[in-house]
Subunit: 167 residues, 2 copies
């Protein structure tokens, strides 16, 4: 299979969410060994004006579900952002992984040139070709939030290394 | 132009290195305003067992130059890792951006299925198809190191936001 909009998105998202599930397993083990409540990790931030761990995972998974829905031309499902425990975060990652994998390569055909209109909370919507949306918006955003989550866990003392990031 | 090995690598690398140059400009302005030597930022780490800022940029640029050379089937150039100032870091990012842009789409034709063998410091080399090398190794690594550099600068108080990350 040659490089395609599908092969550059769905398997990448599924793999990275699977990796993130393993980071959470290590975070849980770290909390258990140190005898603190792993839930404490959910609100941690790298800087006071950066988003906490839970939001990093919510935004990363929202980005992936929005991407596959928009590229396929279907409505983006709305998910509540109410995760309050490690199990909730795990369920969010699994839900996102399952959702993106319901799509087929056929649904993404021609999506390189589909116009993607992204509503912004304030101001004009962003407009991209499907290709530029995936390459210059979705993927950098996904990795941005996942790396920030990883760095937060590293900073909190969780025993993670580059191999855990890459899977 | 439809999605290709070239379009998924060279323009992405060049754009992200251009963005990183702007982060360094903001870091310099922050140091000047606070009257500290911007060179101090180069050795900062997010955790004592994480790599400092300079290494994050060296590895990110090495990953990109290695990628384009390997996909095109040419020797990977060796660059000294001797950056010791903000200007050196800027020069490194510009050099990498210029280097990747010397390649043409034609040189990447068929690289999806080219076997990429990555020597490891210890143990067996990693083997990938060109496509998996780009999607599951080069891009996650690139964003990993650039996001870590960004997070370091954020943590150090530099006035950066998501727009600076995405460009």
């Amino acid at each position: 299979m040659s490089l395609s909009m599908y092969s550059s998105s769905v398997p990448v998202f599924a793999r990275m969410f699977g990796n993130a599930l393993m980071w959470l397993d290590k975070a849980q083990a770290h909390a258990d060994a140190r005898k603190f409540d792993a839930t404490n990790l959910l609100g941690m931030r790298l800087a006071p004006d950066m988003l906490p761990l839970t939001r990093q995972f919510q935004i990363a998974t929202d980005g992936a579900k929005g991407c596959v829905a928009r590229l396929a031309g279907v409505d983006v499902p709305k998910w509540d952002d109410n995760e309050a425990s490690m199990d909730d975060l795990r369920a969010r990652l699994r839900r996102a992984s399952d959702y993106v994998q319901t799509f087929t390569p056929q649904q993404f055909e021609g999506s390189e040139s589909r116009e993607i209109v992204l509503p912004m909370r304030s101001g004009e919507p962003l407009r991209f070709s499907g290709e530029n949306y995936l390459k210059h918006f979705v993927l950098p955003n996904l990795y941005f939030h996942l790396t920030t989550a990883y760095a937060l866990l590293r900073h909190a003392g969780v025993d993670l290394g580059k191999k855990d990031f890459l899977g």
